[in-house]
């Protein structure tokens, strides 16, 4: 009996965790097996070809965008010294705190024909017909890249700074310059981190609805919502969503496969790499690039939000705002701690078992991030409501009881796990990769095993990854809307819920104040993290 348990311990752990995602996914996929021929024919004729094309360009564009922004910035900050480096190091994380749809409505507000930039230009030129239109594929790619590059930046920076000096030193003794070292050593060694960040960014891109609808861009999610809200066919919406999830699953598995069995451990203890001081033009180019990205991705949109909030201050500034903020922080903190703990357990299970089953389960468990939020919210709520109905019939028949589990914080937190496990997992698992087998074996020879091994060996080595995970999950939960709206207990309105209420009526200027508070609150962990770890 114990040996059977021993054999199946880690697959069981992985299965239990992945159930949180598997059940909602099953609800989405299985409840909608028969396609509605009329609607599908219509979508095939008038929607799908174009939106697949659109989605392809969007994904390619955002992939290129987040890599071009995230990786060079991470490299610069990790191994060079240039004016302002210390501040850029944390400031470049700031856009993470701004929801993509908020970024979208500020950027469109600023740069569209009727916005202040073009209005000002028209005062000096005859017209602004030459001005590139912000509401275009290019504009959307730019805005999404600015919103999502911090995932790549954070994880890549973590990789570059924990890589240890030895690898690069070996390169140097072989005559490689530092930039050649970047291409031949650092980049390949940081691959799991960069890919982890990229996959998160692409999952967000594919699951996004708010941003694309501000741009009125036809993406995959647009068709899902059209089928549901406009053609009144939730089944078609679920079928499309299943297709989307399948696509992403293939993408993730292919990446895993391409990575093969290479190991990415750290060569020697993470001695901080001495930073190379950039001088002259190169130093100013580095600062200039970082400043440009920071200005476009944060300073400008945040400035616009501040201007709008000032106008709506009287209307929106009240005690209720503190309540929203407090609940946002409480929920996000609880969710972040819970999700990162579960991610750690899952990553450890994968580490200890390493079999195909556990690897597959780990992949499935993190798919919730790629499902459009509102669809996932339904997938989560349906089984909970079903369970509630059964419980009420069993134990409260005839009584005035309408809810047992639904509307409790516990259920809400579990729902967050199924959405955000991917975020926590990619941070923790990337860090787990750095730990060598020999470190484990040494500890085992000292008599540590099982969870004691995790506690005494892995936990201390994983600190950076765990903190990164907590930060990313924290801000992501703060920004989340559909699941919060669907599962929150009575009265648990958060900043995101408030922002939704205002943006749904198109009053973006009133939504600005809660958005500013959301960004400011999101900054707290960002700043704490950067203080804690100005990693090499």
């Amino acid at each position: 009996m114990p040996s059977v348990f021993r054999r199946w311990r880690w697959p069981l752990v992985a299965l239990l965790i992945s159930l949180l995602t598997l059940i909602p996914l099953a609800v989405i996929v299985l409840s909608s097996l028969t396609p509605d021929p009329v609607i599908w024919q219509h979508l095939l004729d008038y929607a799908l070809p174009e939106l697949l094309n659109n989605t392809l360009w969007l994904v390619l564009g955002v992939a290129a965008g987040v890599l071009l922004l995230g990786v060079p910035l991470a490299w610069l900050v990790a191994v060079y010294d240039f004016p302002g480096r210390k501040h850029f190091n944390w400031a470049l994380m700031l856009p993470l705190a701004m929801p993509a749809y908020v970024m979208a409505f500020t950027q469109v507000g600023l740069f569209d024909f009727s916005g202040p930039v073009q209005t000002l230009l028209r005062a000096h030129f005859d017209n602004t017909r030459w001005f590139p239109p912000i509401r275009s594929t290019g504009g959307l790619v730019l805005v999404m890249s600015l919103a999502f590059y911090p995932y790549v930046y954070l994880l890549a920076r973590n990789a570059f700074s924990t890589m240890g000096r030895r690898a690069l030193e070996v390169g140097q003794t072989l005559g490689l310059s530092r930039s050649a070292g970047f291409w031949h050593i650092a980049l390949p060694m940081a691959r799991p981190w960069i890919m982890g960040g990229l996959i998160l960014a692409l999952m967000e891109t594919l699951a996004d609805f708010g941003t694309v609808s501000i741009f009125n861009f036809d993406a995959f999610t647009t068709a899902i919502y059209k089928a549901w809200f406009s053609l009144f066919s939730l089944d078609t919406a679920k079928q499309l969503a299943s297709l989307l999830v399948a696509l992403i699953f293939v993408m993730v598995v292919l990446e895993q496969y391409a990575r093969g069995r290479r190991a990415y451990v750290q060569a020697g203890r993470a001695a901080p790499l001495p930073r190379l001081r950039l001088a002259g033009v190169r130093a100013w180019l580095a600062s200039g690039y970082a400043l440009l990205v920071l200005a476009l991705a944060f300073v400008l949109p945040f400035g616009q939000l501040l201007v709008w909030s000032w106008g709506a201050l009287e209307q929106e500034w009240n005690e209720a705002l503190f309540g929203y903020a407090l609940r946002s922080v409480t929920l996000s903190m609880m969710a972040a701690l819970m999700i990162v703990s579960i991610a750690l357990l899952l990553s450890y299970a994968r580490r200890r078992d390493g079999g195909a089953l556990v690897r597959l389960l780990a992949r499935v468990a993190t798919l919730g991030y790629a499902v459009p939020g509102t669809v996932l919210a339904v997938g989560i709520f349906v089984p909970i409501a079903w369970l509630d109905n059964v419980l009420i019939e069993q134990f409260f028949a005839g009584q005035d009881v309408t809810a047992v589990l639904k509307g409790t914080l516990a259920v809400m937190l579990l729902a967050y796990v199924s959405r955000f496990l991917a975020v926590g997992y990619s941070a923790v698992d990337a860090a787990m990769n750095r730990i060598t087998r020999s470190q484990e074996e040494a500890a085992r020879n000292l008599g540590y095993s099982g969870f004691a091994l995790l506690r005494h060996v892995h936990l201390p080595l994983l600190q950076g990854g765990l903190l990164t995970g907590v930060l990313m999950v924290f801000v992501d939960v703060m920004k989340e809307m559909p699941i919060t709206m669907m599962t929150r207990p009575f009265g648990w309105d958060t900043l995101a819920v408030r922002i939704y209420g205002l943006t749904s009526e198109g009053v973006f200027d009133q939504a600005a104040l809660p958005a500013v508070v959301l960004v400011l609150v999101g900054l707290i962990p960002t700043l704490l993290l950067s203080r804690q770890k100005d990693v090499a």
Partner: protein
């Protein structure tokens, strides 16, 4: 069989124990309380509920979300839903909720007296509570009202490159087109929408505000929007260079839609829910309901807000707003066919 009896009592005890454990979590509504699921923006409905609670002492709990998720929620909860009232915007959504069997009919002379027949469900499953007009807006500096006539006229080549529209994914446009299908038939409607698309000055916008701002900035001369978006802007900026024009006055009248509500099929507090709906249709509440968002009262005895009234009286299209739902899918497919994004 004493063993069996013992066993049974143990099982029963287990059940009682579990039940009392669960009871810690189990939520049940207080008898008087009314639970509302609402997709009308919270800031536009909360003041009314607060006023009702103050007047009657009855507590109202609101869960706000988008209409789609709320309907799925009601469906999944079934007979154990805590909701008494479902409140939403757009007749299409009310029709859909009714179609899903989420409402129960309400027999109320008060509601039938206060709400005109075209603004409520013929089977009394839901009632419009405020009216929203979707009409034409023009730039005062470049367009004379005499140049304007109807929704159909916006398809005329004279507006080529001068029209701004909101996305076809927006339910208000879908309802407008659905009503046109009922009024002038699918063929003429398709021709009209195609004409709109040909006349576009720029890609369709994500919201009505953006359409109005674009007209003001001179990106286009004419467009369509719900009047309350305009009301919010001119309340802050009286110099806004855009005016409304009442569409189709020589024909069936300007397109109107509603926000409204019905009593949920498995409501626990039906009496309270009906009372609240009746109150919402009363003079006093109707004023607040409409004025908080520059909408028109659904109760014809109630006057609109002064700003709203300043835009003048107009002929409403009296077709039952229910067609916005029954013809919505058809309207969406039509718009897709002519490439209206």
């Amino acid at each position: 069989m004493p063993d069996n009896g013992l066993l049974r009592s143990v099982t029963v005890n287990k059940k009682v124990l579990l039940a009392s454990l669960l009871a810690v979590f189990a939520g049940s509504a207080a008898a008087e309380e009314i639970v509302v699921y609402s997709s009308r923006a919270e800031q536009l409905i909360k003041p009314l509920f607060d006023a009702y609670s103050k007047e009657t002492g009855v507590a109202i709990k609101v869960i706000s979300d988008k209409e789609g998720p709320l309907m799925e929620r009601l469906k999944a909860e079934g007979s154990n839903s805590p909701a008494d009232i479902f409140l939403t915007v757009d007749a299409g959504n009310l029709w859909k909720a009714d179609d899903m069997g989420l409402f129960q009919p309400v027999k109320s002379a008060v509601l039938n007296g206060n709400i005109p027949a075209n603004l409520r469900d013929p089977d009394n499953n839901w009632f419009g509570l405020s009216v929203r007009a979707r009409t034409i807006f023009y730039n005062k500096n470049t367009v004379k009202p005499a140049q304007l006539a109807s929704y159909e006229d916006l398809a005329s080549p004279k507006w080529k490159g001068k029209l701004c529209l909101r996305s076809s994914k927006n339910v208000y446009n879908q309802s407008l087109v659905a009503t046109m299908i009922a009024d002038i038939g699918p063929v003429a409607t398709e021709r009209m929408v195609k004409g709109w698309v040909n006349n576009l000055a720029t890609a369709p916008f994500g919201n009505d505000n953006a359409v109005l701002e674009a007209i003001a900035a001179g990106q286009c001369d004419v467009g369509m929007a719900n009047t309350y978006y305009y009301g919010r802007i001119v309340a802050k900026n009286p110099a806004f260079p855009v005016s409304p024009f009442w569409a189709n006055q020589a024909g069936k009248g300007t397109h109107v839609n509603v926000s409204g509500a019905g009593v949920v099929r498995y409501a626990k507090n039906v009496k309270g829910a009906v009372k609240l709906l009746e109150w919402l249709s009363s003079d006093k509440a109707q004023n607040m309901f409409a004025d908080v968002n520059f909408e028109y009262p659904a109760n014809p005895k109630v006057k609109a807000d002064a700003l709203v009234a300043s835009w003048g009286n107009f002929k409403h299209n009296l077709i039952n707003v229910k067609v916005a739902g029954s013809k919505q899918a058809e309207a969406v497919m039509l718009m897709d066919r002519v490439g209206y994004k």
